[in-house]
Homo-oligomer: 403 residues x 3
Amino acid sequence: MKKTLLSLSISALLLSPAVFAKDFILTDVADNTEVANWKVTSDELGLKDAPAFTVTKKTLHGGKQEGSTLITIDAKDLQVSLIPTRGMDIYEIKSGDVRYGWKSPVDEIVNPAYMNLEMRNGLGWLDGFNEMMVRCGYEWTGHPGEENGKLMSLHGRAGNTPASKVTVSIDETAPYAIHVKGLVKENTFKLSALETWTQLTVVPGQKSVKVHDELTNNSDYDRDYQIIYHSNFGAPVLEEGAKFVAPVKEISPFNDYAKKGLQDWQTYLGPTKGYDEMVFNLIPYADKDGMTTAMLHNKAADKGIAISYDTKQLPALTLWKNTDTLKQGYVTGIEPGTSYAYPRQIEREQGRVKTLPPLGRQAFDLEYRVMTTTEEVSSVQKEIDTITADQKTKVTTKPIAKE
Amino acid sequence: MKKTLLSLSISALLLSPAVFAKDFILTDVADNTEVANWKVTSDELGLKDAPAFTVTKKTLHGGKQEGSTLITIDAKDLQVSLIPTRGMDIYEIKSGDVRYGWKSPVDEIVNPAYMNLEMRNGLGWLDGFNEMMVRCGYEWTGHPGEENGKLMSLHGRAGNTPASKVTVSIDETAPYAIHVKGLVKENTFKLSALETWTQLTVVPGQKSVKVHDELTNNSDYDRDYQIIYHSNFGAPVLEEGAKFVAPVKEISPFNDYAKKGLQDWQTYLGPTKGYDEMVFNLIPYADKDGMTTAMLHNKAADKGIAISYDTKQLPALTLWKNTDTLKQGYVTGIEPGTSYAYPRQIEREQGRVKTLPPLGRQAFDLEYRVMTTTEEVSSVQKEIDTITADQKTKVTTKPIAKE
Amino acid sequence: MKKTLLSLSISALLLSPAVFAKDFILTDVADNTEVANWKVTSDELGLKDAPAFTVTKKTLHGGKQEGSTLITIDAKDLQVSLIPTRGMDIYEIKSGDVRYGWKSPVDEIVNPAYMNLEMRNGLGWLDGFNEMMVRCGYEWTGHPGEENGKLMSLHGRAGNTPASKVTVSIDETAPYAIHVKGLVKENTFKLSALETWTQLTVVPGQKSVKVHDELTNNSDYDRDYQIIYHSNFGAPVLEEGAKFVAPVKEISPFNDYAKKGLQDWQTYLGPTKGYDEMVFNLIPYADKDGMTTAMLHNKAADKGIAISYDTKQLPALTLWKNTDTLKQGYVTGIEPGTSYAYPRQIEREQGRVKTLPPLGRQAFDLEYRVMTTTEEVSSVQKEIDTITADQKTKVTTKPIAKE
């Protein structure tokens, strides 16, 4: 029983002065390990020549969060929390006094044991949705729909799958990058053998969180996959007059309701009763390597968050404007993906469902940068302007599909 | 990690002789607290001038009750157990050698982690049903039905929702009333933000359990609610010749099958193979404040249980006669509610689905009194007679709705 | 709280030199007991006049196996593991360097708390399927289907039900047979009161695992039941040229796809891409007591496993050939049952759904023998030949039913 194991590996480490950085295994089904509570600091590791940091894991208690786990990296100018029991989703990022994430009516970090994704005709996912970033995939994603008589519930399973192996690794040399890796398995006899090694990296002192995921099709057959990196931000960055900035090549409304939002799709309303949500399907311009950047910044342009990613991996970009009231969950989603949010059957018809061959792998790389000054926002604005250059945005007023 | 925390607050308390009563937090998601096992006694608290009591919390193990919790108040002439992990439902009351509750084939206190409410086309709730009182609501209640293509499963979610905050409070002055409060959240992004603070109160020395619940619509939109306080009693109070007594203004059969039960709806059969269940829809008379009382007593009228409640809060009363065999679950339900047990769509058509405005609150007050002598039963009978006065019961032989 | 209880009963035992064997209670909902980790050895018990053994229980951690439990008997020439939290299913048997069981893409022992059996229109069971033997029953079994508007999900609930009482008993006299008993309840108010006392027995030194299950209908009504002992084996016994040997009276293909497999139904292919599965419905010959034996052996006929069972209890035998690729789950199932794998409605139409009267009991007896030498395989072959005598196999080329 390793459930209550104290971190013996650290103690052992400290006896050995030459070792100054290390891998820590926090979860491992193969070794029957789940460390309930754990902490390591740069001090304990003897890392003096770089900004200090702490990495903590705790197990949560009470209500529907009983048994959930949370890992927090607390470094200079940046704190980030992720949820091993929910597919390594990112719960929130903080920098200074700014929180990047949002306030959902779902205010607990729900243990998937209490979830029923097929509830309400496939909307069960909404009972647990409150993360800054949820992996919506990989076997399927999008709005609920049926294929071959089987319900594909909203946004897939990965975000409600407890990780099977979780490690924290710290580089041996300055600046001592911290990597949290987690293995998320979507394994079903006959039907699915998609396994994703997720990785989140923070370099102490940098205001950036990097995600590098590797999806593998462990089966001997071609297997479809879909993924949306559902990245969500509310106040204080989101506010009346906040702006979405990206090098947009094409935009179209997700449905008829979003048509009227085309006129001011780049700016946000404050919390607006009755707004519900408007969704737009975007294709961004990218640089010569296929990289692009999208940003949300507040009205004063002195706070923001940027997502940079590889459009070759994630060609579709969904912009989800859910500027309803605060209590309803005032939030916008910037969602790079292989697909838009239509049910899988529609995505398939339109050619956006991808396929991995046997043992095929696909990486997904994203970087979240937080900006807390005018200069930082302005700098990202320039990056985006450079990608856009003088290229136009093609606005299509008719939705590309009907649900 | 506070999971195994001993009750430090008590120890601290005892050092301070002036303090003699206290709040204890047993569950709190906001503070990551879930006390696994705990106990406090009136002796430890130095309360000598009133009947002695003990309050205990334990975590259950084995089978499908793994991880369930149970709080028991043991006071003079009354013991009551409630289930924080199942919406603060009341499991049973005992007084002397009489148990108030029933024997269900479901003989474990099921952790909702093992439940699937949508199973069997919405009858999953039956896999956990064995409580003396279950809160059937609040987002919906009643028999399974579909609204807008979404299945509303039998009797809603509250009774299968683990409480997010649980406290035990003991009054500072005699008679030292004991209050167990629990917060039950039905929160779903976009769809529901109903939160209920439940409260159960026992005054040591009194044979009464008071329930005071406050439902709040935490959303910014009007939200429907329904609630049935599904209160269930089997042997020994229920027996052949046992009686249901209430000031009944109107009664009608729930369905065609119950029609033939109208002739003797006030008395009960012994365990009867093939009886299944007969359900009746009642409207009770009330006193000038809207309060009414319904009672079940045994044949000899020397054991009984009374439920007094506010008909302005809970206008509908369902009488559920399930006098099937003992092993099948010989039980009757006395069920004050806002609704009868029809699917939500029918309740809506008939105008019984209530609505709360944004931040609207609704209280529900019920008192369960246990009677273990002829005098006690007789006294309640007089109360009911006083409410009835000379008013007649209107018997309608046709069901008001068809499922 | 008995969750972390050390095995006090052992210590007490050792003080009493006269006592040399014992019952150990590892799970008991009635006594709120769930021993998380436990071990007993023949040495501790002072049993010197027979082969040594160890019995261990551990609680598993990480991923979807968090909270699962595993009991392992390690005796001379035989190790067997079973899963209390999954209906006492047998995970695997090992003898020497041979493992009996299979490699499923589902590589964790999934806690039923993470399961949703109704997922994918009733195929949720596939998310947890990796056992050497799963009890598919008892309320229903077979492929998903609807009866009276209710989905009967694939292969029932028993295999995903945590046992409510688990004991390890060791005989008081040599050869000190070890019995692991577990109570699996399928209890649902009004609908089901089927309880099964499972028992697995190992005699140290023997290469055999006996199963003796007793199903009781605890209700006062006739209740249907179905059971398939889904027994599954992959490499190394299963390989190209491996053989299925049984005294087969009748065989027919489960569906049209299996028709073409009739020509070589007794031999196996190696891992074969695109094979998927072929299923055959068999009726075996039996000896005068109704006992029969089926065997799988490898190509060289020096490794095998035999299942002997009572055809009066289990008249139907399903042969499931799933010789798809290794990663897809290369496996064959030898599945004695009351039913074939058609949905319950079809099984009912064809008269194979059994009924138990009130308090009726039905025992099921099976023995798994592992063979690791040519002589052992040859000996079982002779047993089977004796049952077959000169009787023919009737091959029916048309499936008996259409799904």
